[in-house]
Symmetry: none
Subunit: 260 residues, 2 copies
DNA sequence: GACATTAACTTGTATAGACAACCTAACCTA
DNA sequence: TAGGTTAGGTTGTCTATACAAGTTAATGTC
């Protein structure tokens, strides 16, 4: 015997709108129906409509702009975490203007666990840099990095907003990079993320931690990059075998209709 | 000249309540003031109070339970990058006792977008399976999959709770898997996730979408797996920052250049 | 033509009220 | 005592309304 679980109106509306978006009823950047229109269509109150819209916003399908309207943004920037495509290259592929801002830059004693991960001796200082990455002037990524001070020193005073750190490293010290490790987590937006990435409190974000060595085996960098998951799409084409990829985007998510 | 931007009431209340929680006014699992009490304290409407509470829930500070009340659940974000786990064999490397529960299993006509992505003809049925996977009896992953019915038929009645689907496929039909695509997102826990994964509303989770082909090129499976990010670390050990391709000048120099 | 004003939209916030669903504890009854 | 009922609390959902804040396009004026 199946229990008849009542599904809220706002959730049904959410599902229906999601299906419409997935079915391609709206194109990227299309104007979505306004609250008032949806109120008439579904014959519910505005609060209920907004509840449904909120879910779609949280999933990254819609964006609201006060005074202008609600817009469809289902297409995400794709990035393959295995192939470390550069940020500017990634932006260029999506016709977005890349830019960066240095939030913090200092030489200090890192926390103990950072020293440990980077195999630094306890008395060694490290270079800490926080950068904010933009695509078309929209904040996409916070990069929080610790660098090996000895290796980083030669490029410390270079222009890091407009130059590649790895490029500078190679040009000035002839050092190349070697192995790297990374892991991915989902986190909730904290205080700094709210401010820098311009998201709502509690927005789920992707956290990618990387530990990068030089080709000599020295630990060069430990970074924690926080990505706006609603704007950047992490995709891989590998697994057992890697042939030429068909490139089917997987931009949607199963709805409850698909599940029950 | 800075425009004096008005801060919403619900946000001020949110900040004040957050400060109280951070200051330790409430202990873990303490009962939080009810909507009605907060309405009296702040002299606002219930909707406004709930807006503030919602933010605290999304941040993971509070949990609401219908009929019982609102509770404080301070949650730590733990960083443990020393444990780096492989992509597929998470369970074994974690040294956890693996188990699974079939939530749903049916043969039916899949939604249109699933048919499309799996290259199924519209009249073709698919096997839909929802599995909940445990490690040491704790729910870790929801696997929601659609399988090609023709390919899946031979193993439909096998014991899917205690066997690997891929292993069964190979044993019974000698079919090997080919290429796969996958992408990773961060999402907020929805209704089914709350129930099955036993997490609090708004908990950030990892969503991994996969499209898997057989070696023959047939589309075998589309799945969306939801991981408890607080219990599972997703990691790749080595990245092709690759040293072996140093001789190839153009493509790899570009990527390294743009990375920072 | 250039520019300010206005009207008519949009989303954002806030209020007040209602009922449903759920939980707990006190109470009543067998 | 044991068990069922009820009253009163909680959160969940939904409605209806109102005004603020921001955008856009048409209008009117100089």
């Amino acid at each position: 015997m199946q229990i008849d679980q009542p599904v809220p109106k706002y959730y049904k509306i959410y599902e229906e709108l999601l299906n419409q978006i997935i079915d391609g009823k709206y194109k990227e950047n299309d104007l979505f129906p306004s609250d008032t229109e949806l109120v008439k269509i579904y014959n519910v109150s505005r609060g209920t409509v907004r509840e449904a819209i909120k879910l779609l916003i949280q999933q990254g399908y819609l964006v609201r702009e006060q005074g202008k309207g609600t817009f469809v943004t289902y297409k995400k920037i794709r990035q393959d975490p295995d192939k470390l495509i550069g940020f500017t290259e990634l932006m260029r592929q999506h016709d977005l203007k890349p830019s960066a801002r240095i939030i913090e830059k200092e030489v200090s004693y890192p926390p103990a666990h950072i020293s440990h991960i980077m195999h630094l001796e306890p008395h060694k200082k490290a270079v800490r840099i926080v950068r904010l990455r933009f695509g078309d002037d929209q904040p996409l990524i916070i990069e929080r990095s610790f660098f090996n001070h000895d290796l980083f020193k030669p490029i410390l005073d270079e222009d890091l907003e407009n130059n590649s750190i790895f490029d500078l490293l190679y040009e000035l010290t002839n050092t190349k990079l070697g192995k790297a490790q990374q892991c991915i987590e989902a986190i909730s937006a904290g205080r700094q993320e709210l401010q820098l990435l311009e998201v709502e409190p509690g927005t789920p974000l992707l956290l990618i931690k990387r530990l990068i060595q030089t080709k000599n085996g020295d630990y060069f960098q430990y970074s924690e990059d926080v990505y706006r998951s609603d704007r950047i799409h992490f995709a891989t084409d590998t697994l057992p075998y890697n042939t030429e990829h068909d490139d089917i985007p997987l931009p949607f998510t199963l709805t409850e209709q698909d599940l029950f």
